[in-house]
C-alpha cells in the first residue's frame, strides 16, 4: 500500500546508532493507561479492593507489551488469578503469624506500654523477603523474544542483608545509602538471568555517592523544607535510575541512560498538586459531613463534647469513610499515572542498549515460580510495579 502519508511531513529520523546498539522504546498511549487505571480504581471501590490483582496485571501487561528493545516488545505472562491465589496462600500463612504477633505484643505491653513496637522490625525483614520474592515472580513472567527472565537466590538471605544495610543507613543519617543500594542490587542482579545469560551489577556505592552527595548535603542543609524537597528528591531519583541502568549487565549486554537530572521534577510536582487538590476536596467533604452531623444533634453553641458527639453520628462516619477511600483511590490513580507510567516512559526512552548482539542466541532456561511472594508483598503493603 502506497497511500500511507504523514500529515506533518516525514517522521523525525532518529540519529543512526552504532552497530550492535539498540534503543528501548515505549509506545503506550497515555490515554489508554489513564482509562485503565481510572476504571481499575472504580472497580477497586466496588469490589472492596479485590480488583487490585486484575488492575496490577493489566497495568503490567500494558507497560510490558508497549516496551520494546530493538523493536521487539516484551510480554508479561502473569495472570490475576495467580496473584489472587498467591494472596490467599499468603493469608493462610500470615494468619497464625499475625496471631502470634498479637499475643507476643500483648505480653510485651503488660511489661511496658508500647513495648511491642520493636516487633515491627520482624515485619520489616519479612517485607524485604516479600519484596525479593515478588521481584522473582515478576521476572519469571517477563518474556522477551520468546525467552523468559528468571531468578535464584534466597529471600531470607536478601532480607537480613537489607535489614543490616538499612540499620547502617539510619545510623549514618543516609550516608551509607548508596553502598546499601549497590550491595542489594548486586545480590539481586547476580541471581538474575535471561535464558542462559547471567546478570550482574557493576555499579558501586562509591560511584553513586560521588553523584548524589551534594543532594544529600542539600537535603540536610535545607532542613527538609517543604519546597526544595521535591526538587532534591526528584533529582536524586533520576541520578539513581541512571546509575542503576548503567550498572546492569546481562551476559555481555550493557546499558546506558542519558536521563536528565531534572527529568522527574515535573512529575513529582504534578503529583503534589493533585494531592493538594484532592485533600482540599476531601476536607470540604468531611466538613460538610461534620456540619450535617452537628445539625442532626441539635447544633447550638459548640462544646468539646458536642464535637465528639457530632463526629460519632452514623452519617458522619459513613460519609467520612467513603470520602477517605475515594480520595485514597484517587491519589493512587494519580501516582500510577505519573510515577509509574510517565516515569517508566522517561526512563525507557533514555536507555541505549549496547552490545545487544551478545544476546542473539540465548537458550531458554529457568522455572516459573509461584506468586506467593507477591501475595506476601500485597498483604504487607509493599507491592511495587
Amino acid at each position: 500500500m502506497n497511500d500511507t502519508s504523514f500529515p506533518f511531513g516525514l517522521p523525525p529520523v532518529p540519529p543512526p546508532l552504532p552497530a550492535g546498539t539498540a534503543r528501548i522504546t515505549f509506545s503506550g498511549e497515555r490515554r489508554d493507561f489513564r482509562r485503565l487505571v481510572m476504571r481499575g480504581a472504580a472497580l477497586e471501590l466496588v469490589t472492596v479492593g479485590f480488583y487490585r490483582f486484575w488492575l496490577a496485571t493489566d497495568m503490567r501487561r500494558h507497560l510490558w507489551s508497549n516496551t520494546a528493545v530493538d523493536g521487539d516488545a516484551a510480554e508479561y505472562t502473569g495472570t490475576a488469578k495467580e496473584l489472587l491465589i498467591g494472596f490467599l496462600f499468603a493469608l493462610a500463612i500470615l494468619a497464625p503469624i499475625y496471631l502470634a504477633y498479637f499475643l507476643i505484643g500483648l505480653e510485651a505491653e503488660r511489661l511496658q506500654a508500647f513495648a511491642s513496637v520493636p516487633l515491627g522490625l520482624f515485619f520489616f525483614l519479612f517485607a524485604q523477603f516479600a519484596i525479593y520474592r515478588a521481584r522473582r515472580y515478576r521476572l519469571t513472567r517477563t518474556v522477551w523474544r520468546g525467552v523468559r527472565f528468571w531468578m535464584t537466590g534466597s529471600g531470607w538471605s536478601y532480607a537480613w542483608r537489607a535489614g543490616l544495610w538499612m540499620l547502617l543507613a539510619v545510623i549514618t543519617l543516609g550516608i551509607a545509602m548508596p553502598w546499601a543500594k549497590a550491595s542489594l542490587e548486586r545480590y539481586k542482579m547476580r541471581h538474575t538471568s535471561y535464558g542462559d545469560l547471567q546478570g550482574r551489577f557493576v555499579g558501586t556505592g562509591g560511584g553513586l555517592f560521588k553523584k548524589v552527595w551534594w543532594l544529600w548535603l542539600l537535603m540536610w542543609l535545607t532542613g527538609f523544607l517543604l519546597i526544595p524537597v521535591p526538587f532534591i528528591y526528584a533529582a536524586m531519583r533520576a541520578i539513581e535510575w541512571r546509575w542503576w541502568v548503567s550498572g546492569i549487565r546481562i551476559g555481555e549486554v550493557s546499558f546506558t541512560s542519558d536521563l536528565r537530572n531534572g527529568a522527574f521534577i515535573g512529575l513529582y510536582w504534578k503529583v503534589i498538586g493533585w494531592c493538594v487538590l484532592l485533600l482540599t476536596v476531601l476536607g470540604v467533604w468531611i466538613g460538610i459531613a461534620f456540619a450535617i452531623g452537628y445539625v442532626s444533634i441539635g447544633g447550638g453553641t459548640p462544646t468539646e463534647q458536642k464535637f465528639l458527639l457530632a463526629m460519632q453520628q452514623l452519617p458522619v462516619l459513613l460519609m467520612g469513610g467513603f470520602g477517605y477511600i475515594v480520595a485514597a483511590l484517587a491519589v493512587g490513580t494519580v501516582i500510577r499515572i505519573y510515577l509509574m507510567r510517565d516515569l517508566w516512559q522517561r526512563v525507557a526512552h533514555s536507555v541505549t542498549v549496547e552490545n545487544l548482539t551478545a544476546a542473539d542466541n540465548v537458550a531458554a532456561q529457568g522455572e516459573l515460580v509461584s506468586a506467593l511472594g507477591e501475595g506476601f508483598a500485597n498483604s504487607l503493603d509493599v507491592a511495587g510495579f
Binding site: 500500500m1 509506545s27 472497580l43 477497586e44 466496588v46 469490589t47 472492596v48 479492593g49 479485590f50 480488583y51 487490585r52 486484575w54 501487561r61 510490558w64 507489551s65 508497549n66 520494546a68 521487539d72 516488545a73 510480554e75 505472562t77 493469608l91 500470615l94 498479637f102 500483648l106 505491653e109 503488660r110 506500654a113 508500647f114 522477551w144 523474544r145 520468546g146 525467552v147 535464558g195 442532626s296 444533634i297 441539635g298 463534647q305 465528639l308 458527639l309 460519632q312 453520628q313 452514623l314 462516619l317 467520612g320 469513610g321 477517605y324 477511600i325 485514597a328 483511590l329 491519589v331 542473539d360 542466541n361 540465548v362 537458550a363 531458554a364 500485597n378 498483604s379 504487607l380 503493603d381
Partner: protein, 358 residues
C-alpha cells in the same frame, strides 16, 4: 506486496530467542514454514492470542511450548489468521469483570455476617470459659495503654480514698461480686467511667466533678461493676480483636482501609454494647435497690453529662450509649430512698476532693 497468498511472520520456537522469518500456510492447521520446511503445525482451535503491542498480533499455541510465539504485523495476514483461528480469545470472557464484582460482594457479605453474628457469638461463648488469669493478663496490657492515654495519674488523697473504698465495698457486697475487683479514680477532666478486663474499674475525675450526690456516683460505679461481673470488657476485647483481625487480614493493602476498619469497628462496638449496657443498668438498679437507694440519680447524671439532647445522640463515648429506653428504665423507679445515705456529707466532700493536692 505480491499475491495475497503469501503470509509471513516472525517465529520464536520457545527454546531460544532466535527470530526466524517464516511463511504461514493454512492447511488442516496453521503450518509455520521456514523456507519450505514446515517447522511446526498448530491446530487452528489451539491457537491463542498472547499479549503484545497494539499493532501486532502475537500468537501462542496451547499444545506447543509455552513460550513459542508467532508474531504477525501485517493487517491482512492478521485478518486471515483471525478467520481461521476461532478460539483466539477463549478463556477471556467479557463477563469476567462482573464475576469479580459479584464474588467480591459475596465476600463482603460473608465478612459482614461473620462480624455481626459470628464474632459476637464466639465472644459470648469464649468469655465465660476463658480462665480469669488470661483475662487479667489482657487487662494488664490494656491498663498500661489506658493509663498512658489519660496521663496515668491516680488520685489517692487519703480521706477521699477512704470514702471511695467504702463506697466500692458497699456496692461490691450488695451486688455479690465474685470477680476480683480493683477500682481507682484517675485524674482526667473527661466525664466518664469504664471497666477493663480483669476487674479494673476507673472513675475519671471529670465525672466526679459533674456529680451532685453520692448516689449518682454509686449508680455509675454499680453500672461498671455490672460490666465486671458479666465480663463484658473481655467480650468486647475478643470482639474488637476478632473483627479487626479478620478485616485487617483480608483488606491487607486496601489504600487506607485500616482507618475505615477502625471507624466501622467503633460502630459495631457501640451497637454490640447496647445489650450489655442494658444488662449493666439492670444490675446497677438492682444493687441500688438492695442498698435502699433510688437509681434515679444515675439517669440524672447521665443526662447532665450528655446534655439535653440525649434522646438524639448515639453515644457520649462509644462505650456508653445513652438511649430513651435506658432513661425510662431508671426513671420508672419511684425514687424513694428507704436505706441510709451511702456516704456521709463529709465523706462525699472528701471523695470530691480526692484529686486535690495534699
Amino acid at each position: 506486496m505480491t499475491a495475497g497468498t503469501d503470509h509471513s511472520g516472525i517465529f520464536l520456537d520457545g527454546r531460544s530467542n532466535r527470530k526466524r522469518s517464516v511463511t504461514l500456510r493454512f492447511a488442516s492447521g496453521l503450518d509455520i514454514a521456514d523456507q519450505d520446511t514446515v517447522i511446526e503445525s498448530w491446530p487452528f482451535d489451539q491457537v491463542r492470542r498472547a499479549d503484545g503491542p497494539p499493532a501486532m498480533l502475537r500468537l501462542s499455541c496451547t499444545s506447543a511450548l509455552p513460550l513459542a510465539r508467532l508474531e504477525v504485523s501485517d493487517p491482512a495476514t492478521q485478518g486471515v489468521l483471525a478467520a481461521y483461528c476461532r478460539s483466539l480469545d477463549a478463556g477471556r470472557s467479557p463477563g469476567q469483570t462482573w464475576r469479580i464484582v459479584a464474588w467480591s460482594l459475596a465476600a463482603v457479605c460473608s465478612i459482614l455476617l461473620l462480624t455481626l453474628f459470628g464474632i459476637p457469638l464466639a465472644a459470648d461463648r469464649l468469655a465465660p470459659v476463658l480462665p480469669l488469669s488470661i483475662e487479667q493478663r489482657l487487662g494488664g496490657a490494656v491498663d498500661k495503654q489506658v493509663k498512658f492515654l489519660f496521663g496515668g495519674k491516680t488520685c489517692t488523697r487519703a480521706d477521699g480514698q477512704a470514702a471511695f473504698t467504702k463506697l466500692v465495698e458497699k456496692l461490691k457486697d450488695a451486688g455479690g461480686i465474685t470477680m476480683p475487683l480493683e477500682a481507682q479514680v484517675l485524674s482526667s477532666s473527661v466525664p466518664n467511667a469504664f471497666a477493663l478486663p480483669g476487674g479494673k474499674v476507673y472513675l475519671l475525675a471529670g465525672l466526679l466533678r459533674k456529680a451532685e450526690s453520692p448516689d449518682e456516683i454509686a449508680g455509675v460505679l454499680a453500672h461498671e461493676l455490672g460490666h465486671v461481673q458479666h465480663r463484658d470488657s473481655l467480650r468486647r476485647l475478643i470482639q474488637t480483636g476478632g473483627t479487626s483481625f479478620l478485616i485487617g487480614l483480608l483488606f491487607g493493602d486496601v489504600t487506607g482501609g485500616s482507618a475505615v476498619v477502625f471507624a466501622g469497628r467503633s460502630l459495631f462496638d457501640a451497637s454490640y454494647s447496647r445489650d450489655q449496657e442494658r444488662a449493666a443498668d439492670t444490675f446497677a438498679i438492682d444493687v441500688m435497690h438492695k442498698l435502699g437507694r433510688s437509681p434515679k440519680p444515675l439517669g440524672a447524671l447521665l443526662v447532665r453529662v450528655t446534655g439535653n439532647e440525649a434522646s438524639k445522640s448515639i453515644a457520649l463515648l462509644a462505650s456508653h450509649p445513652m438511649s430513651e429506653d435506658r432513661l425510662a428504665l431508671m426513671s420508672k423507679d419511684l425514687g424513694v430512698n428507704t436505706g441510709p445515705e451511702i456516704l456521709t456529707a463529709a465523706e462525699w466532700r472528701a471523695l470530691k476532693g480526692i484529686c486535690a493536692a495534699r
